[in-house]
């Protein structure tokens, strides 16, 4: 197999908090191939945003990578100088955040912001960068692009701002776009437009997407692979179709069942008892054990590794027979 475009190996991130050291990421590995779309889902505090930030070197001051390695096209990021690393990331990866108004510079026109990377980093002339900005704005579906070059972010609606943010992310011709909850703050009809845009970009430009969200339905609609995160680790990875049909990890199952679906009305939603573990405290065994319906003594002593089962990977001692346990628990 060829080298994946992005490869993360056994990454650990600790965050210094006033309650003590928080083990936010506890050893994750991830491969993203050229043009692949990957979803990372999990609840708040599971570590999904921190994963993106760690890869991009955007961690807050109190957080640091304690071990692990990150490769882009086989090149380890940690072997590069700070300057070379930033240059490489800027060239290869674009990023779209949840809150476009916070991500955009309020005192620069959107044209200036979109043209910045072509002009500054790629050394294009002003005129050529401006043309590129118009091209990108048209690509992301901003009407009257030429006129809109001169507007400021506050003059645009939420949906258009997010499109500007996507245009900026695309301005360096990245091979991969990181999306951190890009549609969470948008209305549902506008969300549909932005998701459609991302899908079209992947098809047209073969741009890979890593999509971080808490909204399972969004991942179902636009990703090929889904990674379910819990307490700083991936607990399940599989293609979207199989995982949504037949999850192999009890947490993935519970999460999928607890999400309301607009296609079906059910008597009661499945709910997970208890809360996610406090990652500032040490614990033994599987972090999901206290909330799990398929728990056994083994789960309370040994944390399972992410191992293959069927077409997926699952971090559960009982993936093989948890479905039996599930029907037992129901009975």
């Amino acid at each position: 197999m060829s080298t994946p475009f992005l490869s993360v190996r056994n990454l650990h991130v600790d965050i210094e908090t006033n309650r003590g050291l928080l083990k936010a990421i506890r050893g994750i590995s991830l491969d993203v191939n050229e043009g692949q779309s990957i979803g990372i889902v999990g609840e708040s505090g599971s570590g999904k945003s921190i994963t993106l930030k760690a890869i991009l070197g955007l961690l807050p001051k109190n957080a640091r990578i304690t071990s692990g390695d990150i490769f882009i096209e086989g090149q380890s990021l940690f072997e590069l100088s700070e300057k070379a690393r930033r240059q490489l990331l800027a060239e290869k990866i674009g990023i779209v955040f949840q809150d476009a108004i916070a991500a955009l510079n309020p005192v620069l026109t959107v044209g200036t912001q979109i043209a910045e990377i072509p002009h500054r980093r790629m050394g294009w002339s002003k005129e050529k960068s401006r043309e590129r900005a118009i091209e990108l704005m048209t690509l992301v579906g901003i009407p009257e692009a030429e006129k809109r070059l001169k507007v400021y972010p506050h003059q645009l609606s939420g949906g258009l701002r997010q499109r500007v943010a996507i245009a900026i992310a695309l301005s360096g011709n990245p091979r991969l776009i990181f999306c951190d909850e890009p549609t969470t703050a948008l209305d549902v009809t506008i969300q549909a437009q932005v998701l459609r845009l991302l899908l079209d970009l992947r098809q047209k430009e073969n741009t890979g997407i890593v999509f971080v969200t808490h909204d399972l339905a969004v991942v179902n609609e636009i990703c090929q692979e889904v990674n379910v995160m819990y307490a700083g680790r991936f607990v399940e990875r599989g293609n979207v179709q199989d995982t949504f049909q037949d999850p192999t990890h009890p947490y993935a199952y519970s999460l999928l069942k607890s999400a309301p679906d607009m296609d079906h009305q059910v008597e009661r939603l499945f709910s997970i008892s208890g809360e996610a573990p406090d990652l500032t405290k040490t614990f033994v065994g599987c972090p999901f054990a206290p909330r799990c319906f398929a728990v056994s003594d083994l789960c309370r002593t040994t944390e399972p590794d992410l191992l293959p089962i069927r077409t997926s990977l699952s971090a559960c001692h009982h993936s093989q027979n948890y479905l039996d346990k599930l029907s037992e628990a129901r009975a």
Binding site: L160, V188, Q191, Q193, L195, P260, M262
Partner: protein, 323 residues
């Protein structure tokens, strides 16, 4: 059909912007935002109504006007057939209660849960001083909180538990109708599921009547018997939930429902709708949705459609092309 608890006729809430002295002297009209603009509906006993719409459609304003947090600009509001004036009686205030989106901002951080509940119970003279502790415990067990919560403060609870406290506080007043404004929107899905289940249980056990306001259409589907769809201050479609989901009539409802990402394995995103929510104006001409409507005809520019019944059912739609 069961008894009508709350009914609104032509209910409107307009916000009027501030004006500078100069523009006042020039005789300019102040900026008016008709957040809720002539809304008619009824809530029947034991029913849950799901109110959906995108941001800025007036759903929260409508909720707040019903509770009395905003005075209505025009229209009639009545509780059990009795008209509610600008000044509500204590009894009327008690009858309509609300739970909010942000369970932390809506709880007093310096009051223990027990004190909070006691204060309202005693103020409204719902129980005697001797029995107040007992009633507080009852309320806590009703919403699934441990008795130890009585001595605790809001910061000691997680988001889901805080929302349970908000529900206990609203239920303490034995309201006739509970208005939940985005009550589960700030919660993670597993916690969201447990709060939705709690509300479903309360509805079954106490016969709770509820107006559930949310932008989350999947949650609305789970919880409501009737659904009301709003667009730019108006109701565009209303009817039994199953019927509206199975057979939406208004072009906006169709667009809204098709935009929602689905959980069905293998579901693929459909074509996205065009256009954005237009700005609120003081006066709209014609149908408010015509700028985004895929089937608009010329008369939509001039005729303001009324909310009319279709086929003699409880399903009502405001679109002249449907009737």
């Amino acid at each position: 059909m069961s008894e009508v608890i709350l009914s609104a006729t032509g209910l409107s809430k307009h916000f009027v912007g501030r004006q500078s002295l100069v523009s006042k002297l020039r005789g300019k009209e102040p900026l008016t935002i008709p957040a809720v603009d002539g809304v008619d509906f009824e809530i029947h006993a034991g029913e849950t109504i799901g109110l959906v719409g995108e941001s800025g459609c007036g759903k929260s304003t409508l909720g707040r006007t019903l509770v009395g947090l905003y005075p209505a600009t025009a229209g009639e509001l009545s509780l059990y057939g009795e008209s509610i004036g600008q000044e509500r009686t204590l009894e009327q205030r008690r009858s309509v209660q609300m739970i909010f989106q942000d369970p932390f901002a809506s709880l007093n951080p310096r009051m223990s849960v027990g004190d909070m509940l006691k204060e309202i119970l005693l103020f409204h003279k719902l129980v005697s001083k001797e029995k107040v502790d007992e009633r507080c415990k009852e309320l806590l067990s009703l919403v699934g909180l441990p008795l130890s919560a009585l001595q605790s403060f809001p910061r000691q609870f997680s988001g889901g538990q805080r929302q349970r406290i908000g529900i206990a506080r609203a239920l303490a007043l034995e309201p006739k109708i509970l208005i939940a404004d985005e009550a589960v929107s700030a919660l993670d899905v597993s916690v969201q599921a447990s709060i939705v289940n709690l509300l479903l249980d309360l509805k079954r056990d106490l016969g709770l009547t509820m107006l559930f306001i949310s932008h989350n259409i999947a949650v609305i589907r789970q919880i409501s018997d009737q659904i009301v769809v709003m667009y730019l201050g108006r109701i565009v479609e209303t009817g039994p939930t199953e019927q509206v989901f199975a057979d939406p009539q208004h072009p906006y409802t169709k667009l809204l429902l098709s935009s929602v990402p689905k959980m069905t394995p293998g579901s693929k995103l459909g074509e996205a709708p065009d256009g954005e929510l237009p700005k609120m104006q003081a006066h709209f001409q014609g149908c408010r949705f015509q700028s985004r409507c895929p089937i608009a005809v010329e008369s939509c520019l001039t005729v303001d459609p009324e909310l009319l019944q279709i086929r003699g059912s409880h399903h009502r739609v405001a679109c002249q092309l449907v009737h």
